[in-house]
Structure formats: structure tokens, C-alpha cells
């Protein structure tokens, strides 16, 4: 099918239909073909900075999240070469920040970790751990920022700017010193709120934006990526097995539990 508004794409030998004006990523998502990504998130303007969504379009490597669909597109995505690029990119992110999964409350729902699992990263990369020592900003009553876990995806910047209209976050510095800054001396002095889209669990792919008093809400085994591969929801067009959101747990009422030294009649035993 190739009328005025539609194009046919060939991705890894599979033919899919795309609308003109879509990006490669949008067309593939709609057709149930998952392209790994970290900096792209549904509802935010694509930025093309993490390059994990790199694919080969007619022999040239492009970022699928920013590349518009073109006619006669021949796309290579799940090839050994492209997946090697992706593995290298994700490995380097692990070495650039402090990604200590055993102590991180995002573990199990972390997109960086899930991407490493999907790409099969189990052996050491030949890079040193940079072990950054960036200050943690816990000034806000409801939110803490641990920049040491940041992968500079910029999703919080775009969510705050485009969805919340607040500009709480922005990039500061250049090169290896680039990091996320807030629009004041500390987060408490900005107009950031726990209800902002930028602070929701969908936005930060790692454990950098921490919602206070919500950590470890899902037990091991019931976390988002415990039972499913990242991207399964797109590949099968089915919702996630587990929710990303906190499930309200019924508060224990002490009245339901009589003191141990009382019997059923309330008499001391």
C-alpha cells in the first residue's frame, strides 16, 4: 500500500505501513516492531540524543526517533552490527554514572537496566568506572535528585518544559561535565511539584528523580521488568504485566489486632 498519505517500509525483511510525517519510531511502534530507546518517551518531543534507537536506513545509521519516514526505506534494526552499537552505548552509560542496581530503588523498573538485560549485557566492558561524585539534591519535601544516576536523556527537561510549562530542568555544562541542573540553587526553590509530569515514574528512565516515601513500593517479582522484556508491550500491543504506579496498600488499623495478652473476650490472660 503506497498512496499519497502512506508509505511502505521494510524493516528487517518485514513490510510495515507508515503514515507520511511519522518518524521511523512512531511507524514501527504502531506496527508492533520495537526499536530499543532510552531518551525517547511517548508524549515527549523526540530528541535523538541517546542513540540507542540507531538503525540503518538504506545503509546509513540514523536515530529512529527523529528520522521521518521516507519512501523506499530499507531499515536494519535487529542486526548483529546495530545491536553491538547499542550494547556499547548502554555499557558506557553504566560506566559513566553510579549505577549500583542493588541499592537503587528504581531497580526492576529501570529502563537502563532493562535495556541491558534485553541486549544481553553480562560481561565487563573495557571501560573504567568513572565514579562521579555529584551532589544529591534532597531539598524538596517530596522529591530528591541523585544526579549520579542520571543518563542525560533529557526526558525531565522536555516533560517540565512542554507538558508542565515550568522549565524546572535544563542541561548545564558541556562534554563529560554535562549534567542536569535545576532552575534555582536547589529543587526546593523551583516551582517543582510532585504532581508534575516531569516527576512521574514514566519520565525518569533511571533512579535519578526519586519520589520520597515511595521507594521500593513493588516487591521483587512484581516490578515492571521482572517478568517481561522491555518493549514487550509494543511488540505484542498488550499492556504491561505489572503497573508502574504505586498500589495503595491498606493501612493497618491497630484496632484489628487486639493485644496479645488479651483473649477474644478482652480478658487479660
Amino acid at each position: 500500500m503506497s498512496d499519497k498519505d502512506h508509505l511502505t517500509l521494510n524493516i528487517d525483511g518485514q513490510k510495515i505501513t507508515a503514515k507520511r510525517g511519522q518518524t521511523l519510531m512512531q511507524a514501527c511502534d504502531a506496527a508492533g516492531v520495537y526499536i530499543p530507546r532510552l531518551c525517547d518517551s511517548e508524549g515527549l518531543e523526540p530528541q535523538g540524543s541517546c542513540r540507542v534507537c540507531s538503525v540503518k536506513l538504506n545503509g546509513r545509521v540514523v536515530a529512529a526517533c527523529t528520522q521521518p519516514v521516507v519512501a523506499n526505506a530499507h531499515i536494519e534494526s535487529e542486526t548483529e552490527e546495530i545491536n553491538r552499537y547499542r550494547k556499547d552505548l548502554v555499557s558506557m552509560l553504566f560506566h559513566e554514572g553510579n549505577h549500583l542496581c542493588p541499592i537503587c530503588e528504581a531497580s526492576g523498573r529501570c529502563e537502563l537496566q532493562a535495556m541491558a538485560y534485553r541486549l544481553g549485557i553480562s560481561q565487563a566492558a573495557p571501560h573504567p568506572y568513572l565514579e562521579p561524585v555529584r551532589p544529591v539534591d534532597a531539598s524538596h519535601p517530596d522529591i530528591a535528585l541523585d544526579n549520579n544516576r542520571c543518563i542525560l536523556c533529557g526526558r525531565c527537561i522536555r516533560a517540565s518544559r512542554d507538558v508542565d510549562g515550568k522549565h524546572v530542568f535544563e542541561y548545564i555544562g558541556r562534554g563529560i561535565h554535562k549534567r542536569i541542573g535545576v532552575n534555582a540553587d536547589c529543587l526546593a526553590e523551583t516551582d517543582a511539584s510532585i504532581d508534575d509530569h516531569a516527576m512521574s515514574l514514566e519520565v525518569c528512565p533511571v533512579g535519578c528523580i526519586i519520589r520520597k516515601r515511595e521507594g521500593f513500593f513493588a516487591p521483587v517479582g512484581e516490578r515492571l521488568y521482572d517478568t517481561e522484556v522491555i518493549g514487550r508491550d509494543i511488540e505484542t500491543q498488550q499492556p504491561h504485566h505489572h503497573s508502574l504506579h504505586k498500589i495503595e496498600v491498606k493501612q493497618i488499623d491497630p484496632a484489628d489486632f487486639p493485644p496479645f495478652n488479651k483473649d477474644d473476650n478482652g480478658d487479660t490472660v
Binding site: N98, L100, C101, R118, G120, S122, V136
Partner: protein, 187 residues
């Protein structure tokens, strides 16, 4: 030629012994393992020194004191294949959190003060342990790969019994220890 048993050595450095516990989670497969392998230096049989050269060395934990470094170098010297087991050995794990002490000219001193001098934990003498028998603590926690050459790593905190079994059997068969999706966990 009679095939000799594969010799395995294990140790726990700056770790919690969780990875060793996990090795015991291979359950009855340990009978199959003992048919083809034997343990040399290991806390599992309480052998404190190497009796001979080993084929596979499994190291749990990173290096936080000089004894850890000494033991790790011993393992490198005496093992053909050295494997970092678990997140502590691979990237420092929980002990490496002290590397992130900030805003301090002397992070190690601040760490010890917090633990022994200024903390509310009962320590009437307020003394930092300094017995000559204690190994000196390092300036920061080092991963195994920062100290010696590591051949393979088995991720997990701890790696499950199945993960260790898959990696160990591959190593015994002289194959690359590739792990299936379900066996790769970083926590």
C-alpha cells in the same frame, strides 16, 4: 588419559557471602558438580591456602582493605580463569557507596568518624579499630577488575543458583559463559 577433576577455588572479599550461599542454591546439582570438580581453597571446605594450581577461581566481593588485595592477587596467580561473581566484585556493590562521600577533603576519615566516633551507635571508647591484626582499610573500594585481570563476570546480587550453574558448567566445558535473558540480573 584419565581426566582429572576440574579444580575450583572460591573466596569472599568485601562481600556478604550471599554469592557463596547462592552457589549452594544449585541444590542437588552439587552432586553432579562434585563428580567432575573438586574445591581447593574455599570457605566451603575451610581450606585457607591453595594446595595446587586451580582451573577456575570464583571471587565474591570487591577490595576494601589490603587483605582483599592480597587474596585477590593470590587468586590471580593460582587460577587459570578468574571470575568476578556478583555486583560487589564487578562494580563494588554496597561497599562502594563509601566512594561517594562528598564535600570532604578526607572521605575515608569522614566515613570512619561517622561509623565509630560521631555516630549514635553504642561505642563507649569512641575509638576507630586499629589493632595490628586488622588489615588496613583502603582509601576507597576497588572493583576486582581495577586490581587484577578478570576473565569473566557473573552479574547478580547475588547471581541465582541457576545463573551460577549455567556459567560454571560452561566454564568447566571450556566454553564462553553466555547467559540467557532470564539469568541476567543486576540486583
Amino acid at each position: 588419559m584419565s581426566k582429572r577433576k576440574v579444580r575450583i577455588a572460591t573466596t569472599s572479599l568485601a562481600g556478604c557471602f550471599g554469592c557463596h550461599m547462592s552457589l549452594l542454591d544449585i541444590d542437588e546439582r552439587i552432586v553432579d558438580l562434585m563428580a567432575i570438580a573438586e574445591f581447593d581453597r574455599s570457605p566451603l571446605n575451610d581450606k585457607k591456602t591453595f594446595t595446587r594450581r586451580c582451573d577456575i577461581g570464583l571471587v565474591e566481593g570487591g577490595c576494601c582493605n589490603e587483605d582483599n588485595v592480597h587474596v585477590l592477587k593470590e587468586f590471580r596467580k593460582n587460577c587459570d580463569v578468574l571470575v568476578a561473581v556478583g555486583q560487589c566484585a564487578i562494580m563494588g556493590g554496597l561497599p562502594v557507596m563509601r566512594n561517594a562521600i562528598m564535600h570532604s577533603e578526607d572521605p575515608l576519615r569522614e566515613c570512619l568518624d561517622e561509623a565509630y566516633t560521631t555516630s549514635k551507635v553504642l561505642n563507649p571508647s569512641k575509638q576507630i579499630p586499629n589493632d595490628p591484626a586488622l588489615p588496613l582499610i583502603l582509601d576507597k573500594v576497588y572493583t576486582c577488575a581495577q586490581v587484577v585481570k578478570i576473565d569473566y563476570q557473573i552479574p547478580g546480587c547475588p547471581p541465582s543458583g541457576d545463573t551460577l550453574w549455567a556459567a560454571l558448567t560452561a566454564l568447566i566445558k571450556n566454553e564462553e559463559p553466555t547467559l540467557d535473558y532470564a539469568l541476567i540480573k543486576f540486583d
